[in-house]
């Protein structure tokens, strides 16, 4: 096994642990939400134009970079692990929003 492969196994495991913890929290929260039937009335809709533009540009740049240096072949796999991490984080992020009341 190469060092790079082991590195991916480690970061993948870390992201997976967060994901699993988030998933379990999400299931618990869903059951509580349905039972409580509480309604959030105060929330602000975040701006989205700049975020969309940045995401589109970033994806294009990453693909272009693969053609510049072979190291960027691994950018996709690293970001895929980041997706796992961020979806796991989303469960906790929502919990933080609930705790602070700041949506």
């Amino acid at each position: 096994m190469s060092g790079l492969f082991i590195f991916f196994l480690i970061i993948g495991a870390v992201a997976t642990i967060l994901y699993a913890a988030g998933y379990a929290t999400g299931i618990k929260q869903s059951f509580t939400d349905v039972e409580e039937d509480k309604e959030i009335t105060e929330y602000k809709d975040s701006a989205y134009t700049v975020t969309i533009a940045l995401a589109v540009i970033a994806s294009a740049v990453i693909i272009a970079l693969v053609g510049v240096n072979p190291i960027f072949v691994y950018a996709g796999p690293i970001l895929a692990v980041v997706t796992t991490f961020m979806v796991g984080f989303a469960f906790f992020y929502e919990r933080m929003m609930r705790a602070s009341g700041n949506y």
Partner: protein
């Protein structure tokens, strides 16, 4: 690079294939039973998840339903066929299509907080016009059928290629497995299993891709040099051929596939209202890494100079071919199969859930308003199963999907701009909406047949939007969007949240 190192891996038995398919289904069935007992009490809960889907499940579900089995393989195939330009044109519009839902979703969730389906919106928006709502409903049903068919087909191709299993057996098993677990928990099951599947198509997929490069002598550098030596344009994202060949039309097709798809609208109304923007924003942005990651398998295929004949005549097989021929341990090959199964199952169960909402709201509640809740619940669930069975029968019959693909393409592309205008422009009226869609199909499809996909797509878009705008400018009427709020109070006898 030396192709002789690519040898088919052994040990992929039929028993292993069946175990993966059934095991995955059993895991989801257990989850569905838990959901059924705790979260599902009525049709409302079943089709809209009590409007309580949080950010994590929302993002996970959006990513998983958008990652079709074919998309997992197409990202590799487009890279293999067009180089990085192919990957660029496949990936960039894909994530954007999801994020493009944000402004539309925000408007409808605010103006119509108790909504269920996009056809229901069309029905109310156009004063109960049957023509408007029926055309949208038909487009949604065709889209759902096509999603289901393509994913069943994709699974059967992969499973019967990797394992010695008859493809027809795979079709039957896929329908039985997915319809069984989704039958019990509806949309809740779909979002929870979908979120699990999002994990499958990210981290395990990343590990498989890295393992493939680790098994290539010289790794990424060798692949990079081999691709450059064969044709340096394959390392550029600026090749116009890919844009003209498929990129531009795909971009509009993807946009239509999201905006004119009940699978996504159902989530707009199911996700907690304060999380709708974040769900689609995060969903689109976090989707990007998946096809970029899997596209690297296509680059490896290019480096080895594989020919379509070596892939069995279908370039979509380049990803599975690389994974099963580079000498990976069995566990990693099985992981890749699970990645494709995850993509397939989540899209089919998402489509089935979307169909359940259409059956309940746009068919039963519209045409048989007095239907009792218990009856509605049964019809909704069995109707959903019927949709899955019909899709399975179509795939098994071996008929060419061309007619269905063309019809769905025509309906979705022609609906795209009129639907957006109906949401954002108050002067959009019924005559313009219906006439725009009908004329766009009647004129645009022959043009597509005669002059190709790009001319056809732009004609359909221009005609459909042009007629809506002209009709709107000629009429003085303006729709009061607040009427949407009044029209949907208590559709299924539940309080909106």
């Amino acid at each position: 690079m030396d192709k002789s190192v690519l040898v088919a891996s052994e040990g992929l038995t039929a028993g292993l294939g069946f175990s993966l398919m059934i095991g995955f289904g059993l895991l989801f069935l257990i989850l569905a039973f838990i959901i059924k007992h705790g979260l599902i009490k009525s049709t409302h809960d079943f089709i809209i998840s009590n409007r309580k889907v949080g950010l994590g499940f929302g993002v996970g579900a959006v990513i998983s339903v958008w990652t079709w089995a074919m998309a997992v393989m197409m990202s590799s195939a487009m890279t293999y066929q067009w180089g990085l330009s192919g990957l660029f044109w496949f990936v960039v519009p894909n994530g954007f299509a999801i994020m493009a839902m944000v402004p539309l979703a925000r408007i409808l969730r605010r103006k119509m907080p108790e909504g269920y389906t996009i056809s229901q919106f069309a029905h109310t928006r156009f004063g109960g016009s049957k023509a408007a709502s029926i055309v949208v409903t038909i487009a949604m049903i065709f889209g759902i059928l096509l999603e289901t068919l393509i994913n069943i087909k994709g699974t059967s191709v992969v499973m019967s290629t990797v394992f010695p299993i008859d493809w027809q057996t795979v079709v039957i098993l896929t329908v039985v497995v997915v319809m069984t677990y989704v039958f019990f928990g509806g949309l809740w099951t779909s979002v929870m299993t979908g979120t699990f599947n999002t994990w499958m198509i990210t981290t395990p997929a990343a590990i498989v891709v890295v393992a493939v490069y680790a098994h290539i002598s010289g790794g990424a550098t060798a692949v990079f040099e081999a691709v450059r030596a064969a044709d340096p344009t394959n390392l550029s994202v600026f090749e116009a051929d890919a844009a003209a060949g498929f990129g531009i039309t795909l971009a509009f097709g993807l946009l239509a596939a999201v905006v004119a798809d009940q699978t996504f609208w159902q989530k707009v109304w199911a996700v907690r209202k304060e999380q709708v923007t974040r769900t689609f924003l995060w969903g689109g942005a976090l989707f990007y890494p998946i096809p970029i990651c899997l596209g690297m398998l296509g680059l490896a295929g290019l480096a080895f100079g594989l020919t379509p004949e070596e892939l069995g005549g279908d370039i979509v097989a380049v990803g599975p071919y690389m994974v099963s021929h580079i000498g990976l341990p069995l566990i990693l090959i099985l992981t890749y199969v699970l990645v494709i199964l995850a993509a397939c199952y989540s899209t089919i169960d998402g489509a089935a859930s979307a169909l359940s909402s259409i059956i309940a709201i746009d068919i039963v509640k519209r045409f048989a308003t007095g239907t009792r809740e218990k009856t509605l619940f049964y019809i909704t669930r069995f109707g959903m199963i019927l949709g899955g069975v019909i899709s399975g029968i179509i795939v098994l019959s071996g008929v060419d999907f061309t007619t269905l693909v063309l019809t769905t393409y025509a309906l979705k592309t022609s609906i795209l701009l009129p639907l957006i205008l109906a949401i954002v422009w108050r002067r959009t009226n019924t005559a313009g909406f219906v006439l725009g869609i009908v004329l766009a199909i009647v004129i645009g499809m022959p043009l597509r047949h005669l002059y190709g996909e790009m001319v056809g797509t732009f004609s359909i878009l221009a005609i459909s939007a042009g007629i809506v705008v002209i009709a709107g400018l000629f009429s003085r009427e303006e729709f009061d969007m607040d009427k949407l709020l009044e029209a949907h109070k208590d559709e299924l006898a539940h309080k909106a949240t």
